[in-house]
Symmetry: C2
Subunit: 357 residues, 2 copies
């Protein structure tokens, strides 16, 4: 991210731990780039008050108040199911563009294709950045990830919005400190915002999911030894399982990390679908990878944000006992169990390859 | 299909059993609508000579010869991986539109969005029909197929281009004759061409695969007792597995029919992926369905077009022994084993539901 960007994060009526996914990730990983949050329902509080992180970033009630913090760009701070633009926000986007602010959006409805927004942006020298706009000339997948030597690690999940991006971002530093050239391969709008490149695999034409995953994995592998691919959705999610499997078969991970939330028992917005046990999920993911490339789950990342410290530690111990794998909450506790598991897996792979040569 | 349509099928350099999927399906299921095939490489032969079906439909070498058969529309007869329009065919499409012929296409590259084609069509009163153009306002899936009483049957496969559409079309009559109101839910460009409605689930934005599958299944269920959903791809296909799983989790089949080709040992265009055994595939598909809806595989459809009669019968017997399920080649042999399996499954479901009331 450019150091000079200062976002007005638009989250009107939606700023909260579970409702403003894009805003929250930006505040967690690039807080210095967030000038102010606009949400009249949370006005007067700070990011830390609302989210438990983000320090003193202020939340204000109106566009005029927000402009006093001298933002250079507006970020659409939500990622609703279906990804449509809330009609009630049109006027705020027009005011931002009129004030010369760039507008960044990760929605499926591409704001740059809206004739009014495009005209206002052009008239005022503002740029609209649609993070989910697919690149031109995508192809289907042919398993080309087999051509790179880099070790590919994919996060997979029990559900959506459970920590697949956050886990990779949290463990990236730890893997680097163990001596590896590691890169993060972004596959969703928020990851792309943070990393500055990537492809939103949920926004490409369905036939090209795996092809897009293949392309972004190969790009992230250049000059790196380990690629941490951001996972999407869940193999048991009624709406998004296709994206999950296409991403898996296109990125061809050598190993996977399973992300889960101990307190969640049914799929997000789909209470009719019970979430299988960790060991059942591990079995499903490994079986689905196997016909293309054997890929063990080598660690579990738990999202325990809604548990007490004692409950969180108990959940980690239970998951360890159930799976026999390294387990941690990479936001709350040390990331070492996962970065060390990746380090050990990578070294073993390199040694096995060397022995074959 | 309208009775008055007479297609010039464009398959230049590609007319053959494996290379002109769209042409072949149209010739098999609507031969009276095909006036002529254009392919200079096969000119002078008939559809039956080239495909083994389609009777005396002529194959000619040039556009002018083809026009003597008085076609009313041109059909793009191929469905290549990636679905791009062959540049070499531009001139033929322009000539067709200039002659006032409508142009039907199932490619990913939407011909109606091509400025030159659109202008020529408008100037000559011709219409461009892009079978893969997604409907507006698709939503994500919420498992709404649970709201219909109809029995939903999905074909699933060991690979792409193996008979998932053909199987459903072949058994539809048999199921109807057993006394059921049965409908065919088209999910690909060729199925849509034949059925006159449907959604190409491989052409929608990835997040909406399951939502599109849900919508088309519900539409096909109106006033019907049994819905035969056209499957796509394969759960082990490196490029298309995402579409396969999204279609499965959106259409929520009560039961599945597995389609396979005994002579094929590796995935189409991906010789690095061995095709798992029938029993392994059945296990994978059933396990993936189960978290959302238990869905047994109740029959196997074999595509034996490249085997001798003796070999084909042996393949059917081997598959029966391996799976313990009804097996047939629904093109070569009787469709009864599959239509009777569906009939029995549906009756049992209705009785079980009645017993609960």
């Amino acid at each position: 991210m450019s150091r000079s960007r200062r976002f007005l994060v638009l989250a009107e009526g939606n700023f909260g731990p579970l409702t403003s996914k894009t805003a929250n990730a930006c505040i967690r990983y690039a807080p210095h780039e967030v000038a102010v949050v606009l949400d009249s329902a949370a006005a007067g509080r700070t990011a830390d008050d609302v989210l438990g992180f983000g320090g003193g970033i202020p939340v204000v009630a109106t566009f005029d108040e927000a402009m006093r913090f001298e933002p250079t760009a507006m970020l659409i701070g939500i990622a609703p199911a279906g990804g449509q633009f809330p009609h009630a926000w049109r006027e705020l986007v027009v005011r931002a563009l009129t004030a010369g602010l760039d507008v960044w959006s990760g929605l499926h409805s591409l704001l740059g294709d809206d004739p009014e927004f495009a005209a206002v942006a052009a008239a005022h020298g503002a740029t609209i950045r649609d993070l989910r706009r697919p690149p031109e000339n995508l192809d289907v997948s042919y398993g080309r990830v087999r051509e790179t030597d880099a070790t590919v690690i994919l996060t997979v999940g029990s559900d959506c919005n459970i920590g697949k991006m956050t886990t990779q971002l949290q463990i990236q530093d730890g893997v680097r400190k163990l001596g590896h050239r590691v890169s993060f391969a972004a596959t969703g709008q928020t990851g792309i915002l943070i990393e500055g490149r990537g492809i939103a695999v949920d926004a490409v034409i369905a036939d090209f999911i795996a092809g897009a995953a293949e392309q972004l994995t190969l790009e992230a592998a250049v000059d790196h030894d380990i690629v941490l691919v951001e996972g999407q959705g869940s193999i048991v999610h009624p709406a998004y399982s296709g994206v999950t499997l296409g991403l898996m078969h296109g990125s061809l991970p050598h190993a996977m990390i399973l992300c889960a939330q101990p307190s969640r028992t049914t799929i997000n917005r789909n209470p009719w679908v019970p979430i299988p046990s960790l060991s059942e999920l591990i079995r499903l993911y490994e079986q689905l990878a196997e016909p293309l490339r054997q890929s063990p789950v080598i660690g579990v990342a738990l999202n325990t944000y809604d548990l007490s410290d004692i409950e969180a530690r108990e959940a980690v111990e239970r998951a360890k006992a159930e799976t026999g794998l390294p387990v941690t909450d990479p936001v709350r506790f040390s990331t070492a169990p996962l970065s060390e598991a990746i380090d050990a897996f990578h070294r073993e792979r390199v040694e096995a390859r060397a022995a074959l040569m």
